[in-house]
Subunit: 270 residues, 2 copies
């Protein structure tokens, strides 16, 4: 087992194309890095699936990213981060760095939101894992977290983008009493930044909407710097793989990545 080399790619995976919001932030922050993205569109959405299923999918994807020689694996999906981060870390061991979207976000909250009341929205799995609350409570920073599962929102955003068709859903979800009286709202799903404005408009007084993608991208940069693994060479190669290819994913990818993306079919489950 040799130490990773800086020219090796960063592997990023998600249940589908929503993780492209994180991929985009990473590319913006680290333009010289080689990127391998894998979206498990054959199984999306993960929010409904069982813990065991998500863990099995995540292990197999991490294995594929290791075959692609990645130096770092970013689990760019809150659901998979919530239930599969530990098992993926164990599986990869010292062969590569494994990061999730939750730890960098918790650190950011610790540094910026002490003694505040923070709302969190995410999938059923992310919310019921209670992992954000557990990790934040461990900090003893007086941060109070209240969370509500907004399960259909990821699929709705994939279907409609930032469109009025989802206003009714959003209204029902955000009006839930458990997330009333908050000072900030954490978007704990990589799809949600696409409708950040719409979410902000729901609140009569201004509250801060916390978008993870930049936080996570900065954490990747810091970690690669620390480990002396930043790539400073020439041009960057990017591959965007999906386990099931459809035109609708191909069209939707731009919405999340903010620029044209060429999706390639990678038949991981065939």
């Amino acid at each position: 087992m040799t130490k990773p080399h800086s020219s090796q790619p960063i592997g990023i995976f998600d249940s589908g194309i929503g993780g492209l919001t994180v991929a985009q932030a990473i590319v913006k922050c680290l333009p010289k890095e080689n990127i391998i993205y894998f979206g498990d569109t054959a199984h999306l959405p993960y929010g409904d699936k069982s813990t065991a299923a998500i863990q099995a999918y995540s292990i197999k994807i991490a294995h594929m990213l290791m075959e692609q020689n990645c130096k770092l694996i970013m689990i760019a999906c809150n659901t998979a981060s919530a239930v599969a981060y530990e098992v993926v870390k164990e599986y990869i061991a010292s062969k590569a760095i494994v990061m999730d979207v939750i730890d960098p976000t918790v650190l950011h909250l610790h540094q910026n939101y002490a003694h505040k009341r923070i709302g969190l929205i995410g999938t059923k799995q992310t919310v019921s894992s209670n992992i954000y609350k557990k990790k934040i409570d461990n900090l003893n920073a007086g941060i109070h977290v209240v969370s509500h599962a907004t399960n259909l929102l990821a699929s709705a955003i994939e279907e409609f983008g930032d469109h009025k068709a989802i206003d009714g859903l959003l209204e029902v979800y955000l009006s839930h009493p458990i997330i009333k009286n908050i000072e900030a709202l954490l978007l704990a799903c990589t799809h949600y930044p696409v409708i950040k404005q719409k979410i902000a408009q729901h609140y009569p007084t201004s509250i801060e909407i916390i978008d993870q993608s930049e936080i996570v991208a900065n954490a990747v940069k810091t970690r690669l710097e620390t480990d002396n693994l930043l790539n400073n060479n020439g041009t960057s190669n990017k591959h965007f793989y999906v386990s099931d290819y459809t035109e609708s994913f191909a069209n939707g990818a731009k919405l999340f990545f903010n620029e044209d993306v060429k999706l390639e079919h990678y038949p991981l489950w065939d």
Copy 2:
């Protein structure tokens, strides 16, 4: 290859638990039949997946239902019926009867809706396959079919049931100009009967809402009668399998089956 026997079960499969609306109609119509239901919750929803993926899943499920000794396989999912019926029939050959939800519905339209203008809503795959229109046009019965993909509706119904959270979605979907001025609306997705009233209320004047489940159940009965395969013996056994088990599927099952259902995990993809 021996001829099927009447005591063998009817196999019913769907991408998830929506097909339970069809299973329920079959149980009501044929209370003495043994039933094996398989919901592919590991891959739901099918509406987003590629044709090749849905065909591969359907073949594997049909194989499993044959191992369970089914005399008849009902593809209780419009998406799978649209893209995988032919390949499943070819695969099963003469070992069992294979039926889909589309042919019985087309026959029903032929008998009752000549010279009418019919709207159809279903998943992206069902609508883009154009299979209803093709089969109906072949009848030369002057039935005019217009269709619109209401892709998120199945997941929304699984999440919320018959709840106002989906009113906004429904309004956007049903207001699409392509399905204006229709005399009847075919619900070409097994989930939709759950919100039949809500759909009817969208229309200012009364239009007929066509629910497939009873049509399909009657077609199964007719076919078993014709083939002399109706079961008239004692008690009926029912098994309801899912490829991924979660509490939320277990809770949702009652919504579609109208009575308590005990879901069992069948790890077909492990």
